[in-house]
Symmetry: C2
Subunit: 358 residues, 2 copies
DNA sequence: TAATCTCGCTAAACCGGTTTGCTAAACCGG
DNA sequence: CCGGTTTAGCAAACCGGTTTAGCGAGATTA
């Protein structure tokens, strides 16, 4: 009774056992109406007793689609999953994907190369987040003929894409602080994924910076270069950025952070520095992640529809995947300022101190 | 010059164009050393000029493995991705998977059935998180012959699994509060995924509750049933649970929360209720998510190695996937109490008030 | 010089299904 | 009883690769 590795049953095994052809078995699973009802159910019974399940890979091969969509991230997954922004985005993606019956496959730059990772991925289409369109890898993916939907990218005009009004949101944030009388600013930015790379002026962070600067300039406030510090988009990154600014002698009354995680770090660093928020320091973030309304004080920030971005990207993608719909939409969603507790009027004393030297 | 949908080039196209056999093309890609160097590079050149890439699905079919591992979650992905615990866990999974050259495929109960979702999934193995081993779906997956690694489950003895010492951690949390003199407790628990289901005493939450109760009992403190409230494992869930308890007239001096997210919600609700932490109320969480050290005050909590759980699960899984290693390991990791700012001595007045009626 | 080995490559089988084209039997109205 | 239409099911081609077995030519050995 030697039990040799019980090979997974194949369609031929079922066919033999049920005394029918492979075709019949296939029909029993995929279009039972083409078989006599009793034959179909007999085949299904035999299949069940044998523990047969159609091999998903073989099925993919003939059906020419995988019912899976890929999510392409510029950074390694091992660093991105606990980023709350990415979490919320993924929720949106997952919601739409699940509704449409698609599974999710995460693709990260395996061993450094996105293109080679893509080569191994069995997906019907890809949602790309936060990668500039001129990124060499993106071009390779397009060349491979895999449908794409780009999010937060400066997209090619013929690609489906989802963006938000980053510049307008940033401008609103700055104007809010200006209206509160602030004149001394610190901008806390997200560093580019590749260390040392120049800030892409067309990228998300470039747009936000542009929004800040244009609002400030319109009110006669100049932002010196050293008043822009950058770091990783995390709480720790925000803490470090704020500390660094203070060590450099900066004494802003308001911080414009390009991400909520960093803003929360600034909040925390401020507490350590003995600064009260918002009395001594106003802080405004960007993104409006779930956590933002639960900080102490609640964070004033620029809301963007993160989940909806994920959802919309999937919908756009599937519209071209399933209907081979060439007409690709470009979606642009709005941002809006959420004024909560972390911003307040500029402190008087600080303003006077600043005025003296001028 | 009518350009018909430029069909994806197949291996036969490359073979014809290069004047060699399909086999040679396959060799050029997979084992170039079996070909004369110049032949190999010529084939590769031709392939490149044609834009040929071996079809990943076809390749999977013959090679019998997909280089993909699945992550199986009991809840829909659209609700789980912004859970910080899951985020950290996924980071661990992704780290190990990326290192080993595996991609990640997330599987959630598609249209309600985990088993049918599994049927469509093309994975070499599955990491299962937070599902009890007697869950019917788990059995089906095992029957399908897909290797499994279970995390936070009461695992079958012959399955690789990773758990932590939940009971010990919970006991340590309770003992910490007991040592601070607290006698009036509120336990804030995570509700089971299926509403209305009884708490599995062998599950994670059951173990934690047992830990709390045993420590309290050892010190002569009894916990009435209504002093255990449950809700979803989120900040909102924690807020709601705390409010509900207060409305029910409970006035604990210490809260034992079974998740950090809920503990953070309790912190927030306490602030709204005018309670100072830790002067009026001590709060201890569970998990030690990244955020826990950045709350105000920093959260005392039970640390568990979340990322490592993900990593270890993947390593265990791959050891059976790749080496068909029957000897499956059961890993049990330690927890440890992190005392931070959210716990302090029991308030005197409250204690006296309590003493009066007794 | 004959026998053996190695190299470079190929033909054919195979992975496990789906789909197309077709046939034989049953049905059906006239 | 006959021609035409359904119905039920089959054989073979196909999806796009990988892998095994083997072949001819040149190099090496006996």
């Amino acid at each position: 009774m030697e039990e040799r590795t019980p090979r997974r049953p194949r369609i031929a095994d079922v066919a033999r056992e049920a005394g029918v052809s492979k075709t019949a078995v296939s029909f029993a699973f995929n279009s039972p109406d083409r078989l006599a009802p009793e034959t179909a159910s007999r085949i299904l019974d035999v299949a069940d007793s044998l523990g047969y399940r159609p091999h998903p890979v073989a099925r993919m091969l003939t059906q020419r689609h995988t019912h899976t969509i890929g999510v392409l991230t510029p950074q390694a997954l091992s660093v991105i999953f606990s980023n709350p922004f990415f979490g919320a985005f993924s929720e949106g993606v997952a919601l739409a994907a699940e509704q449409e019956g698609y599974a999710l496959h995460f693709i990260s730059p395996l061993h450094g190369s996105l293109a080679s990772a893509m080569g191994r991925a069995t997906v019907d289409g890809v949602v790309v987040i936060g990668l500039s369109a001129d990124h060499p890898e993106v071009e390779q993916i397009r060349a491979a003929g895999v449908p794409l939907a780009m999010v937060d990218c400066t997209a090619l005009p013929d690609q489906p894409s989802v963006v938000v009004d980053d510049e307008g949101g940033a401008r609103a944030a700055a104007e809010h602080l200006l209206a509160l009388g602030h004149r001394d600013y610190l901008v806390v930015g997200v560093e580019p994924p590749v260390p040392g790379a120049k800030l892409d002026p067309e990228g998300v962070m470039g747009k936000r910076l542009k929004g800040y600067l244009s609002a400030l300039a319109a009110h006669g406030v100049e932002l010196p270069d050293h008043a822009v510090v950058v770091g990783p988009a995390s709480i720790e990154g925000g803490i470090a950025a704020m500390r660094r600014a203070y060590e450099d002698g900066l004494r802003p009354t308001a911080v414009l952070a390009m991400s909520d995680a960093m803003a929360i770090g600034v909040l925390r660093a401020a507490r350590e520095l003995g600064l009260r928020v918002p009395e001594d320091l106003s802080v405004v973030g960007f993104d409006d992640i779930d956590l933002a309304q639960h900080t102490n004080p609640p964070l004033t920030t620029v809301h963007q529809p993160i989940r909806q971005k994920g959802e919309s990207a999937v919908r756009l993608l599937l519209s071209v995947v399933e209907r081979r719909d060439l007409r690709s939409e470009q979606l642009r969603l709005e941002t809006r300022l959420m004024v909560r507790g972390s911003t307040g009027p500029a402190p008087r004393r600080r303003q006077e101190v600043v005025r003296v030297p001028s």
